[in-house]
Amino acid sequence: MTNQPLSSNRSRVDLEYRRKTNAEEMRYQIVSFTLMIFLTLLAFAAVAIKGFTSWFTIPFIVLLAAVQVVFQLYYFMHMSHKGHEAPSMFLFTGLFMGLIIVLAFMTIIWW
């Protein structure tokens, strides 16, 4: 652990820089939120419009959900930041196991 007394020698420039990077990150968050809303509306529209076959609609909306979750994880939950190696490992291991479970239940049970 780093225990340096950081208070006295930090300059104004430093603080100003940090405030700016935080504000910039917040802008990215808003962009990703807008995209997430857009993807959600697209998925609902694909279902509301009756013209498509389910062979198109189902893979399409699942893909939209996957993209949206990437935004949520990497921007809202800050997984794109440094120091998220262990969290990524935990999450992707869970996801890997989860996908196998889904595959197993969907194939073994009714075949």
Partner: protein, 208 residues
């Protein structure tokens, strides 16, 4: 850096959620928990997909008879927006703006309550249409999955409220900043699960 130290805007670290050893441990442990939650919800999704529309006779409603697009859309928008407001709260936490953080957490809680209200209304409607927990395998799988998510929302609301009340007069320090951060991670994870629920349960249910 000590957890109890009185800090100001100038001395507030850039990553308060990981500034102390306790915070680092909390951060790592919570992500491990989220990995486990992913497996838990995957199992519930797998069960739902395997048992979807498995009903004993034709008098029971199927997914395509039950779900309605507008209700799901409103619930989705409420939860998605609450995810953004909790991002706002953490933005203010990083800038050491305690009051603004509390304000946005309050908005998050209100949106979450709105979502929960809609879910109660929805479940009540389904029960009146004959879709109950014990009426079919489909019913059991549906209420386990969506109900478990609803329970997570309820727990998340209680958690955030408890943090807000407990720290109301205390202000921000390195002891409670990681707690707020971890609670907001939990809230986002609830939204991640909901994205799959509205896609796999509701939208795929309406497609057929």
């Amino acid at each position: 850096m000590q957890a109890e130290e009185k800090l100001t805007y100038e001395t507030w670290p850039a990553a308060p959620e990981r500034a102390t050893l306790e915070a680092k441990n909390k951060f790592l442990g919570f992500w491990l928990f989220l990995g486990g939650e992913t497996v838990l919800f995957s199992s519930l999704f797998a069960t739902y997909l395997a048992l979807k529309d498995k009903v004993p006779d034709t008098s029971q409603p199927l997914a395509k008879d039950l779900f309605e697009l507008p209700l799901t859309l409103v619930a989705t928008m409420l939860l998605l927006t609450s995810s953004l407001t909790s991002v706002y709260a953490m933005y203010h936490m990083k800038n050491f703006a305690f009051k603004k953080m509390m304000l946005w957490l309050g908005v998050t809680v209100l949106l979450g309550l709105g979502f929960l209200g809609l879910e109660v209304y929805e479940f009540n409607m389904y029960v009146h249409e004959g879709h109950k927990f014990t009426s079919s395998a489909f019913g059991s799988a549906f209420y386990s999955l969506v109900g478990f998510h609803g329970a997570h929302v309820t727990f998340g609301l209680g958690w955030i409220l408890a943090l807000m009340i407990r720290n109301y007069k205390r202000g921000l320090n390195l002891y409670n900043a990681p707690k707020f951060y971890v609670a907001s991670l939990y809230w986002h994870f609830i939204d991640v699960v909901w994205v799959f629920i509205f896609t796999v349960v509701y939208l795929m249910g309406m497609v057929g």
